[in-house]
Amino acid sequence: MSNVLELQESDVHHGHEAHHEHHHHETFITKYVFSQDHKMIAKQFLITGMIWAIIGGLFSVLFRLQLGYPESTFPWLEDLLGHWAKGGKILPEFYYALVTMHGTILVFFVLTAGLSGTFANFLIPLQIGARDMASPLLNMLSYWFFFLASIIMFSSLFVQTGPASGGWTIYPPLSALGDASSGSKIGMDLWLTSMAMFIVSSLLGGLNYISTILNLRTKGMSMTRMPLTIWALFFTAVLGVLSFPVLLSGAILLLFDRNLGTSFFLSDIYVNGKILPNEGGSAILFQHLFWFLGHPEVYIILLPAMGMSSEIISVNSRKPIFGYMAMVGSLFAIAILAFLVWAHHMFVTGLNPFLGSFFVLLTLLIAVPSAIKVFNWLTTLWRANIRFTPGMLFAIGFVSLFISGGLTGIFLGNSALDIHLHDTYFVVAHFHIVMGVASFFGMFAGVYHWFPKMYGRYLNNTLAYIHFWITIIGAYLIFWPMHYEGLAGMPRRYYDFSGWESFKMFGGLNEFISVVAMIVFAAQLLFVLNFFHSIFKGRKVTTANPWGANTLEWTTPIRPGHGNWVGEIPEVYRGAYDYGKDGREFIPQTEPVGENESHH
């Protein structure tokens, strides 16, 4: 590699002319706290997301303890949780708060902000050849609104009546009435306020991602030459910008119903001995508003993982991603369909059957672009020359989980079957595999693959391999048997099944799942340890392009400074996937097309 690429961060500020505004001396505050550098903001999102993931994961360990051992008491729980675990047993109210916060944290704070916040910020400018985001200031605000949302959500864990406990879907009237649940008191107001801040953060980020991708691509980087990561992050941002405002409206109307006496979602209610005056509202209306975001949200979580896995699979297969245009087209199809299927979460609400039939059709239609993606990934692996870096293993794991969880979606999208399976452990298994664990795998793949670019060091490989194997085996052990519980109709969000003749036979299985869940959680701590240790002590990266990849981020210095490239931004002459072409292992995007190069 040329010497230019090995220049260090310190050289960058003096070396180029374009970035007048960044010439000023950076203090600790402007560099690490109120940074406007997209790479630092990405790291802030990632580390905040990791902290949330540990909290959210810990919550799942706590409620799995209850599910696995409903008859036992653990005195140390009382030491830890005080009156929420009186006598060493988690109270039902707190169990439901744990379940609710686990869902909220993982869906929004980890797999939305932590995933696309991290990688959209980090990869968009680096992979399209831009010095930073279109608006670094809005980008910084995006993180700080997320931080504010985090603080508010975190504080709700400590209010006396407890955090929100009506499920992450916060269906009213349960979430609207403090009389119906202690979690629907101040905890719910904090939840809604936090979510409003979160949505502001997501919109600021999303608008920035879209305008950056559309406007700041380097010379030669036409849309069809962009890496699939960028396409995926682009559609993700579009989904977020169009759907999050609808949740915001739902959240605000719910705040009105809770605090101002309106009746948007309330009607004919007798609760806790009180006859409420509200009439004419519709509880179902909220579900429409919620799922109009809620379903695209699934793809907001999943698309970045798909994009990163596509990129990582291609790089490590040393082969072009099979069917680039089909991959872009299927991402597009999924993004469009994501808006047209929300009511498949509502087949049991008494929805008009005729309307329901459209949602069945459109939902199952998503299986077609999903199938295209899966077969294209498989064909990419076919006759490849695969290097099993930790990133690659997680990308392969992502495909495996996406298949397993995607197929059960065919059951749930078909309304007649959904009626039986709705709100059972079948659903828990389905969405944990396809959107929870699979997206985590995409995220891990991304972290392992781009960590060298983030910190100029490698993560420890041995720990990475241990992490991968425990996680994929554990994920299947946890969620696969849950399908059987679901087929038996075992409802989700139950604190204890021992009083049910129909479900109590799964007690042994629940205990097994809980044990595995704890082991898998411990393995994630191994990753956290590896991450923070390697930032400071990891093996140093010595070549600019350690994976032999084509994309632009590997043409920057090993540790790019603010502005990313020293001197001119490189020009792009080809797509991102010329691996193995004309007998050459890889041809970077910056290399002009040769005269004798074959066309395909």
């Binding site: 209610i269 006859i275 040393r318 099979f322 039939s357 006759r383 392969i396 039986h420 709705h422």
Partner: protein, 352 residues
């Protein structure tokens, strides 16, 4: 004490793994990083193919362990439910084949095409024929599943037969209430603002149709082999009438009544034999998160022969008399015994 020991052990394991991992990095430097990388590649390729084989064995084993605990072996207890089971089997068949084929290809390709210095990756950026193939084939299979699904969907959401037994189901935190229309076969009107004291459902007793309505809690009786229609509502928050044995479910929403209907095929007694469980009981589970007692919101359905059902119904006293005890026939304190005796007489008459 034990918990500290446990924590200490866990921390120890962490430290050991961490030290091994660090040592392995030094070893790889000594061995030559390229060599160590290639060795890791071989190990992981081998592990991937092992994972596939053990995983497929595990899938089979898991099925062996838990299939008997699903609801399939005893079959669905409603006509509609049996069709849904058939559809489940077909969907499991189709997706099962896709699952095995794609997972096998994924891990087998990973193993077979692991890095090898003697081979170069095959440059294969796209192939329109192949892509059209795997666009159309899934589309065809899905069309079949959609057609099947919608046929049953419209059937199960169709209007209940005219002669269906009507039961009103009301959910509240955290129990189920059932109301039968009585001899006139019309459920009396309700108004939630009338909910007070003994009139716990808010029935409007100014409506003559409500005078013969019967209200029971927690346990519902229905006749076998006769269509049953539930009119479902909730008093406080959203609940859900979950009927796993009948393969049905419907939300109970305050202010918006919903309905569902089905024809039970087996009495509770018959199901005890079919399931091999002498304690078998049809349970109504609340399937929509409704607050801290959600998990205990249990209802019971007793499916019995038409004769038993009739007899049970005859023993029930209209709710009107519970709400207004003074209006009950023979309401004078000395005469309450006759009300209790009537059912006994009915039992005698049936010859049981």
């Amino acid at each position: 004490m034990t918990q500290f020991l446990l924590i200490a052990i866990v921390v120890m394991i962490f430290v050991v793994i961490f030290q091994i991992a660090k040592a392995s990095e030094y070893v790889s430097v000594l061995k030559g990083e390229e060599k160590a990388r290639k060795q890791n590649n071989k190990i992981n390729a081998f592990l991937l193919i092992s994972f596939l084989i053990l995983g497929l064995i595990g899938v089979w084993w898991c099925n062996d362990l838990y299939y008997s605990k699903t609801l399939f072996p005893m079959g669905a207890a409603s006509e509609m439910g049996q069709k849904i089971d058939l559809m489940l089997y077909i969907t499991i068949g189709v997706t099962g084949v896709v699952f095995v084929v794609t997972q096998v290809l994924l891990f087998w390709f990973s193993f077979k095409y692991q890095e090898n210095d003697d081979r170069k990756a095959f440059y294969f950026p796209h192939n329109t024929k192949l892509e059209l193939l795997w666009t159309t084939v899934p589309a065809i299979f899905l069309t079949v599943l959609v057609v099947f699904g919608l046929k049953y969907w419209f059937k199960m959401t169709s209007d209940a037969p005219k002669d269906a037994v009507v039961v009103e189901v009301t959910g509240h935190q955290f129990a189920w209430e059932f109301r039968y229309p009585g001899p006139d076969n019309i459920l009396g009107k309700k108004n939630y603002k009338l909910t007070k004291g003994a009139n716990s459902l808010g029935v409007d007793f100014n409506d003559p149709a409500s005078l013969d309505d019967i209200h029971v809690s927690a346990t519902m009786h229905i006749p076998v082999n006769k269509p049953v229609k539930f009119v479902i509502n909730a008093q406080d928050v959203i609940h859900d009438v979950g009927l796993s044995h009948f393969r049905l479910k419907m939300d109970a929403v305050p202010g918006i009544p919903t309905t569902l209907w089905f024809t039970p095929l087996y009495t509770t007694e018959e199901m005890k034999v079919r399931s091999g469980n002498p304690n078998f009981v049809y349970e109504i589970s609340c399937d929509q998160m409704c607050g801290k007692g959600h998990f205990s919101m249990r209802g019971v359905i007793i499916v019995e022969s038409a004769a038993d059902y009739k007899m049970w119904l005859a023993t029930q006293k209209p709710e009107y008399y519970t709400v207004f005890p003074d209006k009950a026939p023979n309401a004078t304190p000395t005469d309450t015994s006759s009300v209790k005796q009537m059912p006994l007489a009915a039992v005698m008459a049936s010859g049981k």
